[in-house]
Point group: C2
């Protein structure tokens, strides 16, 4: 059983697309940031269940932004991170420790 | 061809785990926020390529935070959004438009 980034973007589009396009990128970014704030709070003091739900909400709003921007999240992340560190191209990363601590 | 959230969390762990655990959740959250800022800039004025890369960076740092917090992103997002809107349980969403514009 798996649920892919492509599936997430499709579910979000099927569920919210009309609203999302009406709201546009600026308004959607503000909703995304509200969820980022809730994730911060859950990371500081939430339960495991609350943390999982806030990660899900941040991902869902990131998928919404990607839909509006026409970005394929799965392709984007595979292109940049599929082979390990985009800086040194190694896994584990061998970048200079003082530059990226 | 696909690249799953589980694969992303594994690549990130293989590539950066020692650094990430040393840095901890607070320091990692600040790196995550830096990438969120870069995504904002790319959404306002970036090229398609820049937008894709910034979405990838935000996702990668979200995966890092999830690794540190012990959250399975794929399970979390499927549990909350796998059947459509978590509010009304419909797709398309039928929640009150004035509450969630």
């Amino acid at each position: 059983m798996s649920f892919s980034l492509a599936q997430l973007q499709r579910v979000i589009a099927d569920t919210y697309d009309a609203k999302d396009r009406r709201r546009g990128v600026e308004g959607t970014f503000m909703w995304f940031m509200e969820e980022v704030g809730e994730l911060s709070a859950a990371l500081r003091g939430g339960t495991d269940q609350q943390r999982a739900e806030e990660f899900a909400d941040v991902l869902a709003w990131l998928a919404t932004l990607a839909n509006i921007a026409g970005v394929d999240l799965e392709a984007a992340v595979e292109a940049k991170y599929g082979e390990g560190c985009p800086g040194c191209r190694h896994s584990p990363c061998t970048c200079n420790q003082s530059e990226k601590p």
